[in-house]
Symmetry: D2
Subunit: 136 residues, 4 copies
């Protein structure tokens, strides 16, 4: 299992007139957290794209349990339960506020695809190498 | 069953550097389509809020099958399969492009809540009355 | 002078916790209105990009006089005061609500650039031809 | 003069199909930087709102000189050139990338308004007290 944590501060623009974070913005927090989790491996998602691989999101799920508020300093937990050996990678996310209340959970599935051909490919070797130690 | 359709034109700001609509923006299209489906009933979501009821999104699911592109004129189908007699309402969405290709599907669950007390409530009577004919 | 009008319905996601449209979203409305004004000429901004020309925004100005509210059906006026004969094009925008109150004004300057070389270029000939009748 | 600096990492969702940050997102960076500059004074914008004062943006201006790219770690400089003694406050912003290239400049004017009455008011006393030392 590979797990990591990232902090995100809620921006004013992310709230709506209910006075809470608009639901779709949680997917931006999940993305930020995925990017930071890859960075913690000594790699970046920008590197993945430079290698000619893109990672479109193909499926998402999310539950919103408690509202996130303006200026909240959120903790986004990101977990990879399985080594992504095929064309698919699945991230699990949890969002907590400063009171350690669980605000939301998410599950995001992305594909590895060759940018040029738009065909499915497998996890870039370098990324896989960085991940393997967490799964043995 | 209550079904309705709405058109949404993809905005430049909604694309990302993959050259396609960023996944979380589909939730904005789903919201627009829900609002228009309620309007087609002779009611508006703004009216619901004026009656002191808010509808926070509590759970979402979405699959992204094909990319939506800048300037695409999308058709968003919105379906209510069950009359929302309790505090919960569940919408099903499908997104098609002009070639009638299915781009995405979504399922959104919202609660009816009293804005003042933040307690769950049931579907406002007026909205229920508009919906009933579709479920008998 | 070339002038055109577009309608935009305010989305829930575009509001913030002040209960009004967050200021930066007006720039999305301006963009939608520019795109529709070009479409009214029998051309699309997507066509411009297909011709290898991109139009980055290089300067903006906007005043926000009255709030735009959720579900407001806004009218965005777009005016081109001068024929864009060089690498620069300047749009003027005005936003009105259904009560015909002026909510915001904007001025947006974009450049024509060759996507390949990222060098400034001039207005694509076909677009210029469509515009000329309005300036003679 | 009061000056402060904030770092913002560009998110994927903030890019567009030109492969650069969509222009209106700079206003989100400016907002984040204003909020952080107030926090550096030992105060928060959330506190201002709790005191019944809101700060709507009434006028903006921005120049975009060079593109901001995905994953860039931007530095946003925020400067207050004058003590806001009336109902108006004016911020100046500059955005730099990691190569210290100036990407954008912005000027944002906000009003202080009483949330209840929606009438203009003056800078909350506590905020003014924190700012005064920088202007004497």
């Amino acid at each position: 299992m590979f797990a990591s944590e990232t902090k995100v501060r809620v921006r004013y623009a992310e709230t709506d007139q209910m006075g809470v974070v608009y639901h779709s913005n949680f997917f931006l927090y999940y993305e930020v957290s995925r990017a930071e989790s890859i960075r913690q491996l000594g790699f970046t998602y920008a590197d993945v794209e430079k290698m000619g691989v893109i990672m479109p999101v193909v499926e998402v799920q999310s539950k919103f349990l408690r509202p996130a508020l303006y200026d909240d300093l959120l903790t986004i937990k990101t977990v990879l339960k399985e080594l992504p050996v095929h064309h698919k990678i699945e991230f699990h996310h949890e969002v907590y506020n400063e009171k350690k209340e669980l605000l939301a959970t998410g599950r995001i599935i992305l594909y590895f695809m060759e940018a040029k051909t738009m065909k499915r490919t497998t996890t870039p070797g370098e990324l896989l190498k960085k991940l393997q130690p967490y799964f043995s």
